[in-house]
């Protein structure tokens, strides 16, 4: 059927591309320490992108009985469409990137319910005052990409994700702890989840006054993901390069950040939900260095931004059904340093250890800025964590604080199945707090 659609579209265009996704996900949710709902979300749709006389037409639909309408609407867009000089890629050899596991794919809702219940029951038994909620989800999705230049690619990904949240209310004081995992494999490491939650809760037992001023801040892997990553990566995005709105333009090959900082985009890692053999336009995935020992190594492009920048696509086209491809990172990997987390904390007479935030990404991220309320963070005094802070904000600029990193962690952790990073500590971060 997709071949027929391609043929039909080509009657009215110079090039055509079909992107089809079908997915089935099974989210299970637990609220207030018990099972609340079991869902099944079955979705499928197709998007058509055509090029004629150097302009792009696009439309998408979830109504598979309306392929004539799909073509007609894409054609209708052509006179106004974005100018382009891209050629859809020909067939390529793709590396074997494993993102599918039959056991994961076959997992029944009952098994997810059981796994989630076991975890919730244990958490509830260990911390009866905390109200626990959780989401456990399995998804299997198949992406098919077909174009008039010979590319015909298909990939199926299976993934399970789990997220836990505990809320402790003491009058108007509230404590929130989160923990999550995401993988293509069929197993969840529940021991790791419980150990991590226990560690966070122990640190958070007492409330401590926040250290303020321009002070050292230790970012846990979750904090690197939650606060630093977006302002850092925006500067590498081909869209911002093409618009010259990235602070990194003309910085390719230049030492801009601390030489201990090396960052990769690597969608070829096996069993990682963000991995894949090809991107949203059929370009093969590769392990791409973004920052090599502090030097800006590569920007990320899809076909359109690459041709505009006079570069090659880096295989970073990401897309949903209803929108055209746009460059984005896939799986970010940050090289570890040599300071253990324990040593990192032990080294500071006065510092703030941060874990999660509220309102991150609202600041001037385009210029590398960050500013957020600390949802979960701890005061460090004389090398020891003395308690959780409240009513505290952090602000700064990634290009400033990552230029001279104070310590790079030696232990790597996965965050959200899309970032592999150590903890990082930086000096000179602005911390303010209510007296």
């Amino acid at each position: 059927m997709l071949e027929d659609l391609l043929t039909q579209a080509l009657k009215q265009a110079d090039q055509a591309e079909i992107f089809q996704v079908s997915s089935l996900s099974t989210p299970i949710s637990f609220e207030a320490n018990r099972l609340k709902s079991v869902e099944a979300r079955d979705s499928s749709g197709v998007a058509l992108r055509i090029i004629k006389n150097g302009r792009i037409g696009f439309s998408s639909t979830t109504d598979m009985s309306d392929m004539d309408g799909l073509v007609a609407r894409a054609v209708e867009m052509l006179p106004f469409g974005a100018k382009t000089s891209i050629d859809f890629p020909a067939a390529s050899e793709y590396a074997d990137v494993i993102t599918f596991d039959q056991v994961t794919s076959d997992l029944k809702a009952e098994a997810l319910v059981e796994a989630g219940s076991k975890l919730i029951d244990q958490l509830h038994a260990d911390w009866p005052d905390i109200v626990w909620s959780a989401g456990v989800s399995k998804s299997v999705s198949t992406t098919t990409l077909l174009n008039s230049n010979g590319c015909h690619a298909q990939e199926t990904t299976s993934a399970i994700g789990i997220g836990m949240e505990g809320t402790l209310v003491k009058d108007t004081d509230m404590l929130f702890v989160f923990e999550g995992q995401s993988t293509c494999r069929p197993t969840i490491d529940t021991d790791a989840i419980i150990a991590s939650i226990e560690r966070k809760l122990n640190w958070a037992e007492h409330v401590a006054p926040a250290p303020t001023g321009s002070i050292p801040v230790i970012f846990t892997p979750n904090a690197v993901a939650g606060l630093l990553l977006e302002p850092l990566l925006e500067g590498f995005n081909g869209r911002n390069i093409v618009q010259s709105s990235s602070p990194l333009i003309e910085k390719l090959g230049t030492l801009v950040l601390d030489p201990r900082l090396s960052v990769w985009d690597d969608p070829t890692l096996p069993f990682i939900p963000g991995s894949g053999a090809f991107d949203g336009e059929g370009i093969p995935s590769s392990r791409l260095p973004l920052i090599k020992q502090g030097v800006i190594a590569n920007f990320i492009y899809d076909l359109q931004t690459a041709t505009q920048a006079g570069a090659r696509s880096t295989g970073n086209a990401h897309r949903g059904l209803g929108s055209q491809p746009s460059p984005d990172t896939s799986v970010i990997v940050i090289d570890p340093g040599d300071t253990s987390f324990a040593d990192m904390i032990a080294g500071y007479p006065k510092a703030l250890l941060v874990e999660s935030f509220l309102g991150a990404g609202q600041g001037n991220t385009l210029g590398g800025g960050f500013s957020a309320n600390v949802l979960l963070g701890y005061a460090v005094e004389n090398g020891k964590i003395i308690g959780r802070v409240k009513d505290t904000m952090v602000a700064g600029n990634v290009y400033t604080i990552l230029k001279d990193i104070d310590a790079m962690g030696s232990e790597l952790e996965w965050v959200d199945g899309s970032l592999h990073t150590p903890a990082i500590s930086c000096t000179g971060v602005s911390v303010s707090s209510k007296a």
Binding site: V38, M64, K390
Partner: protein, 452 residues
């Protein structure tokens, strides 16, 4: 559609079943810098079944309408997997209603070429002023038709038309980058698109002004918010906490959020309601077929009500409020805000500024978020207040606070109510949901301002 839904609802063994089917159509135009970035047209057809058995919920969404009967079976068997107590849903008399969409000016009547031409005029406005580095300009309209039926005899057909507009200008000086942006939306009024000229033309000037401006020193200040940002404030600082699904199964939170608790002074009155007409959060029936209401949340500083689904209302023994909403058929309805408003008082802006030796005046919004206890929201523009007067521009700031103490510190309410219809609300993986919020100017004592 009614026959399809009503026949699929028949002959099952569940405490409650509902079916929703939707037809959607959206058009998007976006410019990045001076160039058209994308233009597209999407259609969607899909639905869902939600079932409740012994208090447990099952939900199945789908695109293939032919599979509807098997999806009903699936949702019921899922619900059965969960349920082991009693199904509790607030009483609702069955409703049969066909509701036409609220239309002032239908974007579907405007040809694509005209929408494109209007956007190019805005592009000229963005680029006709002082030199900027880049810009972003987006337009979207959507038409959503919803067919809903439940096993208790309710059947509704509703439709809504949303129009959205965003613009931003980015200024740059070496590695230093600042942007100024606006977001606006309407329910069923394409005319919105004709009214944004002066705001768009001001963006390049603002971005350059921010670039030249200093950063405020972080810390506590007396803050005055304009009506737009005060609307975002009420949404984040109080609105989310009034959503009963956060509260109803948490005994400690129920104690904290007990009706009758004092949150602020007698000048503080907050309402929410989809029944307030013609706004982005307005509708007639929610996604459980419940009629929209106008709900007093805070009356003279005291908590008097909250937002409910049928389940949360029944479990808390309170009146249902018609606040169960979903962004689309892929999601089950959850408790959401609609149009959330701080009612006006008597103060003028000068009254609010009076006596502030050094403070911060914030206008327009960039974003906001809440954890219930803590909240943050960020300003589109920020100025210092010196000796009771609005003084020099500083870079836009993020503000943060504690829900419980900040409302106590809200000590001045202006007389100039305005509604903010930009942006959208996110919760539980469902974003953006069209909402509106509004307020007059307000003053907050000792508000935490992030900065250098």
């Amino acid at each position: 559609m009614r026959d399809l839904i009503e026949s699929a609802l028949k002959g099952h063994n569940a405490d409650y079943i509902e079916i929703r089917i939707e037809d959607t159509e959206t058009t998007n135009i976006s410019f990045l810098g001076r160039e058209l970035d994308s233009i597209g047209h999407s259609t969607g057809k899909g639905g869902n079944v939600r079932a409740c058995v012994k208090g447990g919920w099952g939900f199945a969404s789908f695109n293939d309408l032919d599979s509807i009967r098997s999806k009903v079976e699936q949702a019921i068997s899922q619900a059965r997997m969960v349920g082991n107590e009693k199904t509790e849903l607030a009483e609702a008399a069955p409703v049969i209603a066909i509701v036409p969409p609220h239309i002032i000016s239908d974007p579907a009547d405007v040809p694509l070429s005209e929408k494109h031409r209007i956007m190019e005029e805005y592009l000229d406005l963005l680029w006709g002023g002082p030199e900027i580095q880049t810009s972003s300009l987006r337009y979207a309209d959507g038409h959503r038709r919803m067919f809903y039926g439940n096993s208790q005899g309710t059947y509704t057909e509703q439709a809504r038309i949303d129009v959205n507009f965003w613009a931003s200008a980015v200024a740059r000086n070496g590695g230093d980058i600042q942007q100024a942006s606006i977001s606006m939306g309407s329910l069923g009024d394409f005319g919105l698109i004709h009214r944004m000229q002066s705001e768009v033309a001001a963006l390049p000037h603002k971005a350059l002004e921010f670039l030249a401006a200093p950063q405020v020193q972080g810390g506590e200040y007396t803050v005055v918010l304009d009506p737009v940002l005060a609307g975002v404030f009420v949404h984040e600082a109080f609105g989310h906490l009034s959503e009963a699904d956060h509260v109803y199964e948490n005994p400690k939170l129920r104690e904290v959020m007990v009706l009758g608790r004092r949150f602020g002074g007698e000048h503080l009155n907050i309402v929410d309601g989809a029944k307030i007409p013609d706004l982005r959060g307005s509708y007639q029936y929610d996604e459980e077929g419940m009629e929209a209401q106008r709900t007093d949340l805070i009356r003279e500083g005291v908590l008097v009500g909250r937002l409910h689904s049928r389940e949360t209302a029944a479990k808390m023994g309170e009146k249902p409020s018609g606040n169960a909403r979903a962004i689309g058929y892929q999601h089950p309805p959850i408790v959401r805000m609609t149009n959330t408003i701080i009612e006006p008082g008597e103060a003028t802006l000068d009254d609010l500024l009076e006596g502030i030796k050094e403070g911060v005046y914030c206008k327009n919004w960039y974003g906001g978020m809440t954890s219930m206890e803590q909240f943050t929201f960020s300003a589109g523009e920020t100025y210092m207040i010196r000796d009771g007067k609005i003084a020099e521009t500083v870079r836009p700031v993020m503000l943060s606070g504690n829900v419980f103490s900040t409302l106590e510190n809200l000590d001045g309410v202006g007389n100039d109510l305005e509604m903010n219809e930009g942006g959208g609300c996110g919760k539980g993986g469902q974003s953006p949901l069209p909402v509106s919020n509004g307020s007059p100017h307000i003053r907050l004592r000792s508000c935490l301002v992030g900065g250098a």
